[in-house]
Amino acid sequence: MELPDVKEKWTAQINQVTIGATKDQGGTRARTVTVGGQTTMPFLTFEGELPFKPVIAGYVADTPPGWPEVLINAIGKEINSPEEWAQKCVEEYGVDLISLKMVGADPAVKDASPADCARVVEDVLKAVDVPLIIWGCGDDEKDNHVLPECSQAAKGENCLIGSAKESNYMTIVAICKADKHKIISEAPVDINIGKQVNILLQDAGFDLKDVVMFQTTAALGYGFDYVYTILERARIAGLKGDKLMASPQICDVGGEVWRIKEAVVDEDVLTGWGKLEKRGPMWEAVCAGVYLQAGADILIMAHPEAIKNIQMTIDQFLKGGKE
């Protein structure tokens, strides 16, 4: 029977963003990672192009985050050394790139100095040859000191630097222009603020083609629906030609999931909810998997089992070819 033609005619393309620089390009990475470039919604290859597959960035921090034991044990002793942790992510888990967060710089954690943070960047760059995402600690004031030094330490490596908000975008634009990095623009689950931040970046002379959007991330069951929908709306707007929403999107799944009850509390308290050892990584994987459907291009993930399972999911959903 003849079926109606239901192909959507999207008019625009999501920006193609490359992270990392090889020797020829002025950096020291063995390979680069490119995301974006889509002309349709996730996995709908019958009506458009998905030139690059979604990627996984291994979560690495200068200081072990306050994570539950099941996650710390799954990663192993390497969690105490950012270089070894990053190596494990690349060699054993097979991640596409590393997301390095300066957890220890937070005045409430260790108040690590900007110089310490810069050293961690250098060490990780030496330890692995994949592209790098660099985040501050989330405390604006501190990050204004931390990020410039980290950026400088990675000069020419074409990193992705996070994150530019309404409150600090000037600093981020300045360092990313000077040291040739790309920017993560952040807005708290709000499409209008997201646009606003991108307008500010543009007005400050930064090309939106070098931006990845971070709508912030919520763990499954904790406002996940809001983020899911913002990712989806932003992607639809981008495909319909809204240049301010045409950036690829990043989700910090690992950073969010391992703080919530379902990934932290074991069966002794949550009777009948299943062993935390299994439930925790499952929570991370399902959260990541469903975000993929909404338009996530880079997933930051922490648990090796969750990473392995999402790598498989990405392959399974891209398989099957075109009509």
């Binding site: 029977m1 003849e2 079926l3 109606p4 239901v6 996995f43 709908l44 290859t45 019958f46 306050g66 409430a108 989330g138 919520a218 499954l220 069951g221 904790y222 406002g223 996940f224 629906d225 809001y226 899911y228 929908t229 989806e232 709306r233 639809i236 703080r259 919530i260 009850k261 379902e262 932290v264 509390v265 009948g272 909810w273 299943g274 062993k275 299994k278 439930r279 990584p281 499952m282 929570w283 994987a285 399902v286 959260c287 998997g289 469903v290 993929l292 459907q293 909404a294 089992e305 399972n309 999402i310 498989m312 999911t313 399974q316 959903f317 891209l318 398989k319 099957g320 070819g321 009509e323």
Partner: protein
């Protein structure tokens, strides 16, 4: 689907006899379209005309009910492709397979397990929606179906292929209105007849969407109207594309042969993979996911994914405005308040849990607005906070009179201290993230 005046006019007698009280058939049609008149007000409309109109006015995706009166599961009648366009109406359900190779005792144990997979989470009860019993290959398909009907708390799906076995099984439990799973090209006529004669829903699967559309037409011709489009998951990418095409055809083109809800039978190498795939398919258009495992750690994330994706995006997500006790609180535990916007509450709750300082959180009804929006919109004031503290009898829980207030509302301090028994108001952090450091500092 709302009909236009023109569509309605086409099915009227066009005699302008005025018996409906209006000067012309066209005028009458316009009023029916505007829902100011009922079609029955025209005494001359033909049976064919009525049928054509009811067909045309049917929703683009049919509503299907599975299960006995009183414990029915409903799916279908969805209206949008993306939840922000309106909302997803009917949360998907998980169906757990019960293999035919199991003995009666094992089946019973598995049904008990299905019945016991009930989770209470953020005020909602999450459970497995179906027991999916394989009757094909059982010595006594009718007996197996009966056993399941007796023991299962939730509606049944009967899995089989040969019409004889299916007929005896369905008849044995026909008052349960089970879903017949599934008709394909080899048995569509017989299966459709069984479904039609017992008036129970039927899942239909084809190799490819074209064949599927042909098969649903055939089923309909046999009188089976309550259909579900069934997809396998051998190539997950293909499945998600097929689900999308079917839903778009129904919703955007009113293409009747695909105007039914969908389900996916998950075929995975591991329970982990099954959980991820099932969750994804519930977000992208499967009303039912049929899975093999039911470990709590496997099904709970699927249930929560459904819970999230099927939340109404136009209704602010709220938690009940009451006093929450986090950890093993006692009369010395700190007391704080926050709003009933669920995102605000959960971030506060999560951080309090992380701090490991047992605390009371008094939730004030702000009609689902966060702290700043509630303040700006006059949905929270020192007065409503004091009133809420009284209503929740917080002062009976603790012997101190210290109240931690959100750092974004320092302005409330004086009034609360002046007008209530809470004489020591402490201004807390502006960000939930800072709560653990704040609470541990306070405890020192």
């Amino acid at each position: 689907m709302a009909l236009t005046g023109m569509q309605i006019y086409k099915s009227l007698p066009k005699t302008n006899c005025k018996e409906c009280g209006l000067p012309t058939c066209m005028a009458f049609a316009m009023q029916v379209a505007a829902k100011q008149r009922a079609l029955a007000d025209c005494p001359h409309i033909s049976e064919e005309g009525k049928e054509a109109l009811s067909e045309a006015s049917a929703p683009p995706m049919r509503l299907i009910k599975i299960g006995a009166e009183g414990k029915q599961f409903e799916l279908g009648q969805e209206t949008v492709m993306f939840r922000h366009e309106e909302k997803f109406h009917r949360p998907s359900g998980i169906a757990v397979r019960i293999a035919s190779s199991l003995s009666d005792q094992e089946v019973q144990a598995r049904l008990d397990e299905i019945n016991s997979r009930v989770f209470l989470r953020v005020g909602a009860t999450l459970k497995i929606a179906f027991s999916a019993v394989e009757i094909e290959g059982c010595d006594d398909p009718a007996g197996r179906a009966k056993l399941a009907a007796d023991k299962s708390d939730v509606p049944l799906i009967l899995i089989g292929k040969t019409p004889g076995a299916m007929k005896s099984a369905v008849e044995a439990v026909k008052t349960q209105k089970p879903l017949i799973y599934k008709a394909d090209a080899s048995n569509i006529e017989d299966f459709a007849e069984i479904a039609a004669s017992i008036k129970t829903p039927l899942a239909v699967g084809g190799s490819g969407i074209e064949e599927l559309a042909d098969l649903t037409r055939k089923a309909k011709a046999k009188g089976a109207e309550d259909l579900i489009l069934s997809f396998d998951s051998k190539h997950m990418g293909e499945t998600i594309r097929a689900l999308t095409i079917a839903r778009r055809s129904a919703l955007k083109k009113q293409f009747r042969p695909l105007g039914y809800p969908a389900m996916v039978e998950i075929d995975s190498e591991s329970l982990e993979n099954e959980s991820i795939s099932a969750s994804i398919f519930t977000a992208k258009y499967a009303g039912i996911v049929l899975i093999n495992g039911m470990e709590p750690w496997e099904v709970l994330p699927i249930m929560v994914a459904i819970q999230d994706v099927y939340t109404d995006p136009q209704v602010p997500n709220t938690v009940e405005a009451k006093l929450y006790e986090i950890g093993s609180t006692d009369e010395n535990s700190p007391v704080m308040f926050t709003t009933n916007f669920s995102l605000t509450y959960f971030s506060v709750e999560g951080e309090v849990e992380r701090s490991r300082v047992p605390s009371y959180i008094c939730v004030v009804d702000t009609e689902g607005l966060g702290v700043l929006n509630a303040y700006a919109g006059d949905k929270i004031s020192a007065e409503t906070v004091v009133k809420t503290l009284q209503e929740q009898k917080v002062s009976e829980k603790v012997k101190h009179r210290k109240l931690i207030i959100p750092g974004l509302l320092p302005i409330f301090r004086a009034e609360i201290e002046d007008t209530s028994e809470w004489k020591e108001v402490i201004i807390g952090p502006e960000n939930a993230r800072e709560i653990p450091a704040f609470l541990t500092g306070l405890a020192k």
